[in-house]
């Protein structure tokens, strides 16, 4: 309860300080508009921004589904086959770690402007964290559970289906939570770099046009959408894992 109050007070205080700072002219309102100027801008950009958001979220959804399906399958395959894991893991870690922004120009050269590079780049961002997490989870499955299943005569198929897959559900859910933010990030970056539509493009053009209130409003909109998605996934996560307590 006190926590909740403190959170609300913090937000109000931050907005208040921001408002005062902007009103007093300590910062240039051209760059940092007061909250009271951002709110009307939110209404003004409404329709166009929502269309952009829908476009971005659509691409993100496609990239996300691909990332989860590919990431989980690759993670299970590489994680459960020892030779594959030992040979591939340095490459996987390397690809996970390098800044993917460096290949972005090349992707745009190859795939052009529009939806395809955005989805591809989104998958590039979403795939690796999911795969790395799942790979680790498969490797770390409790050996006793595997021994139990084998002693009870489990076939290889049954080992995967009844032991490995249920055991990695928490990691898959964790990866899905992480992955969605990465996918959205990838899509937004492409839209900023070489977009003709979508929220990344909208943000970029407001920034280039020095439309600070609109830019802040649009930023708030994307952030809210992203937080809502992650909270929804968290909720789903809690529902699906009663056995974890």
């Amino acid at each position: 309860m006190r926590v909740r109050i403190l959170q609300i007070v913090t937000v109000i205080a931050a907005l208040g300080v921001w408002e005062v700072v902007a009103r007093m002219g300590w910062v240039d309102p051209l760059f940092v508009p007061a909250p009271s100027a951002v709110a009307p801008a939110l209404l003004k950009i409404g329709r166009g921004a929502l269309a952009g958001l829908a476009d971005t979220l659509g691409k993100t959804a496609v990239a996300y589904v691909l990332s989860v399906v590919l990431g989980v399958s690759a993670g299970v395959a590489v994680g459960s086959i020892r030779l594959l894991r030992e040979v591939l893991s340095p490459y996987v870690i390397a690809f996970y770690g390098i800044p993917k922004i460096l290949v972005l120009p090349w992707i745009v050269l190859l795939l052009g402007y529009g939806t395809t590079p955005a989805v591809f780049y989104g998958v590039l961002h979403g795939f690796f964290p999911i795969m790395v997490l799942v790979m680790g989870a498969v490797r770390d499955v409790d050996r006793t559970l595997v021994a139990v299943a084998r002693s009870l005569g489990a076939t290889t198929w049954q080992l995967y289906w009844k032991v490995l897959l249920p055991a990695i559900v928490p990691s898959v859910l964790g990866g899905m939570r992480l992955g969605v933010v990465f996918c959205l990030l990838g899509v937004l970056v492409v839209e900023m770099f070489a977009g003709v539509r979508g929220m990344g493009h909208v943000l970029g053009s407001y920034a280039n046009g020095f439309q600070a209130p609109e830019l802040f409003a649009a930023t708030a909109l994307v952030s809210a959408a992203s937080i809502a998605i992650v909270l929804a996934l968290d909720h789903l996560n809690d529902r699906l894992s009663r056995w974890r307590g």
């Binding site: 006793t144 021994a147 139990v148 084998r150 002693s151 009870l152 005569g153 049954q158 032991v163 974890r244």
Partner: protein
């Protein structure tokens, strides 16, 4: 000796593991036979290969040399219809309820859902788990978890039950009660049990036969047949003398293992 047929025959079994710090001889030329309906305990210092021997009987470990016969047939792999294993850690599937854990083995065998549910449900009473059918492992105490694991093995109705220190992780009081409970289950089901333990008390309280193993590489040092009636009075002079004898055998090996 009784004239009951031998159910398990172990002949000249040897196993060497290759580890990063060189080869380790886990078992050397182990021979042992266990007759049907026996409760045979393997006892010995840590690392003497008791678990390896059990793993071989369960078909999870292959010997380098020697052979293992169960019911006259060589062991080639896990055969849950004849041999069921209970591990030291209960190894319950955390995403399955008590009932679902107990029926797991039957599920793997392709037993229809309704029948396996019924078999598992009937077991819960004797396991002392009625009312816990829908609980998840994290909601159970250590003793309960181990009973679920034993139930999972019993559900298969295999003739042989292998138990690898099933009560090793429990506190002493729970352990004593679980011993009494297991004795009761064994006398009712007439399974053949191979039981690995570090506890002299458990060995003397439960077994018809106690095999003392040597320090690594593990061999059978002595095997005692116990013929006293159940339930055994642990304070009787006969038991106290047996306990002292058993301890002197094990103490020597444990000292060697510590060196």
């Amino acid at each position: 000796m009784s004239a009951r047929p031998e159910l398990i025959t172990i002949e000249g079994v040897t196993k060497r593991y290759l580890t990063s710090s060189g080869p380790v001889d886990a078992l050397h030329d182990v021979s042992l036979s266990v007759e049907e309906g026996a409760f045979c305990t393997l006892i010995g210092p840590s690392g003497c290969g008791k678990s390896t021997l059990l793993g071989m009987l369960g078909g999870l470990v292959t010997p380098d040399r020697g052979r293992l016969l169960v019911d006259g047939r060589p062991v080639t792999g896990p055969d849950p219809r004849r041999v069921a294993t209970v591990f030291q850690e209960a190894g319950l599937f955390p995403w399955r309820t008590t009932l679902q854990n107990v029926e797991f083995g039957l599920e793997l065998q392709g037993v229809p859902a309704e029948r396996r549910r019924q078999t598992a449900a009937e077991l819960l009473g004797p396991l002392g788990l009625s009312g816990f059918a829908e609980k998840y492992p994290r909601e159970l105490s250590g003793g309960m978890k181990q009973r679920v694991a034993i139930g999972r093995a019993l559900a298969l109705d295999a003739k042989i039950l292998l138990m690898d220190e099933p009560f090793g992780a429990l506190d002493e009081q729970t352990r004593l009660l679980m011993g009494e409970w297991l004795l009761d289950i064994w006398r009712r089901t007439r399974k053949t049990v191979i039981f690995v333990t570090h506890s002299l008390h458990e060995a003397l309280f439960l077994s018809t036969r106690v095999a003392v193993m040597t320090a690594r590489p593990g061999r059978i040092k002595t095997a005692l047949d116990l013929t006293m009636e159940y339930p055994r009075a642990m304070e009787s002079s006969e038991m106290v003398a047996l306990r002292a004898k058993l301890w002197s055998e094990i103490r020597e090996e444990s000292l060697r293992a510590m060196r």
